[in-house]
């Protein structure tokens, strides 16, 4: 669909043209421009700490920060666990069960209550378990898996600081990225929903369009596209009215 030409190009009279042209000469006063810049600087500085309580996006930001803080906080403990595992690895050849239970007593997980017993059958290796873990006894394996979980949740910076290659936490950056993407994609998801509603509407599937529009509020409380959704609702209502009027005009057979 091609846009019609602008009215200014086809204006009939002098006044019409003057009115349209007058809008172009309207510019923001310098004083207002300066005040806006000043308030933006001030606002941005204030908005950052206030974001969590002020909007849904802010709450997501707070959640993200809490998750990161948990990573950082848990990172120290996990790093210690990782160091212990590495030390155990480097302590020379050993047979199953020769690790004194007391040496694992501080590790998180069942190792504290279930010391290693060489007589127990080896637990099936976890899909993500590393070879060195497979050499451990079941109790140790569980303990190491506990540390595995902890390492997986550890911030990569902590692992780097601890001098660990962090083979067990490969999915951590991905998880962080996913959180960040989710945070950034909040508007994108709203736009997708809006697009879907519009497609349904244009395809004449009014019920589906309404369902999609109704899902906007619960999915995005405090969403920024409320006016657009309302616009689509209005259009939906117009189409319904038109459809009813058309069906009313049709002769009954």
């Amino acid at each position: 669909m091609k846009d019609p030409s602008r009215l200014l190009e086809t204006a009939r009279g002098g006044l019409e043209r003057e009115l349209l042209r007058s809008a172009y000469t309207d510019v923001a006063p310098d004083a207002v421009r300066a005040r806006v810049l000043e308030s933006i600087d001030r606002g941005l500085a204030e908005v950052a700490p206030r974001l969590p309580a002020s909007s849904a996006a802010g709450k997501r930001g707070l959640l993200l920060r809490m998750v990161r803080a948990a990573y950082l906080g848990g990172g120290l403990l996990a790093a210690a666990a990782g160091v212990a595992v590495v030390l155990l690895e480097q302590s020379g050849p050993r047979s199953r069960g020769d690790i004194p239970p007391s040496s694992l007593a501080w590790l998180p997980g069942p190792a504290r209550s279930a010391p290693a017993r060489g007589s127990e059958p080896a637990a099936p290796a976890q899909s993500r378990a590393k070879p060195h873990l497979a050499t451990l006894a079941p109790g140790e394996g569980q303990a190491a898996r506990g540390s595995n979980t902890a390492l997986a949740g550890m911030h990569p910076e902590h692992l780097r600081a601890a001098g660990l290659a962090n083979p067990l936490a490969r999915n951590t950056p991905a998880r962080l990225r996913a959180d960040a993407d989710e945070h950034e994609d909040w508007l994108g998801a709203q736009l997708r929903l809006l697009r879907e509603a519009r497609e349904q509407l244009e395809a004449g599937r009014l019920e589906q369009a309404e369902r999609v529009l109704n899902s906007y509020g619960p999915r995005f409380p405090g969403g920024v596209l409320g006016p657009q959704v309302n616009g689509l609702r209005e259009e939906l209502s117009e189409r319904r009215t038109t459809a009813r009027a058309a069906s009313g005009r049709l002769p009954l057979r």
Partner: protein, 189 residues
């Protein structure tokens, strides 16, 4: 993180400030309120900056402008439709008095725009005065292109009607009673 956006926001302000100002004014925000309106628009844009696609920046800013202008109008309790002022001088009077300065003409333009409904006004301002395309407007308002085209057609009709009213020649001055008596006496004689 947010504070790091300041340079980007400053650049956007430099690029779009006049657009925001003009759009708010043409959407009925008074000059006195426009300062506040601009700040509200930019604070929203600054907050959401990271999630706006650069090519959709203009549409997004305009959607914020529309929302802010709508809220400000509602806050002022203004009516959606405003008829042209009865005392609006006709074009001839404007010519005669040399009042076609830009400010006066803009006041006239705002009067003409205020005679349109809100939906028509938004589309007219965006298409005719800001040069946006139909897809951009549809994106910003969340309506179909067909709706944009329909509203634009109605808005143009309303605009032309209002301009014609402004251009209508002034009513002839009423003859005074003395003049009438003079004419009548001449006719009798």
């Amino acid at each position: 993180m947010v504070a790091a956006r300041a340079p980007a926001v400053h650049q956007l302000v430099a690029e779009y400030m006049d657009f925001v100002w003009r759009s708010l004014r043409r959407l009925g925000v008074t000059e006195a309120d426009c300062d506040d309106g601009c700040q509200r628009v930019w604070v929203v844009v600054a907050k959401k900056l990271g999630s706006i696609e650069p090519e959709k920046m203009r549409s997004y800013i305009f959607s914020v402008v529309v929302r802010v202008a709508s809220e400000m109008r509602r806050a002022r309790g203004r009516h959606q439709h405003e008829e042209l002022d009865e005392h609006t001088p006709a074009l001839t009077a404007l010519d005669a008095e040399g009042l076609l300065e830009q400010k006066r003409v803009r006041q006239l333009l705002d009067q003409v725009l205020s005679s349109m409904s809100w939906e028509l006004r938004v589309v007219f301002v965006m298409f005719e005065l800001e040069g946006s395309s139909s897809p951009e407007i549809a994106e910003a308002l969340g309506v179909s292109r067909g709706t944009v085209a329909s509203r634009l057609r109605l808005a143009r009709e309303a605009f032309r009607r209002s301009v014609e009213r402004l251009q209508a020649p002034p009513r002839p001055p009423q003859q005074s009673l003395v003049q009438l008596v003079g004419v009548a006496s001449k006719a009798v004689s």
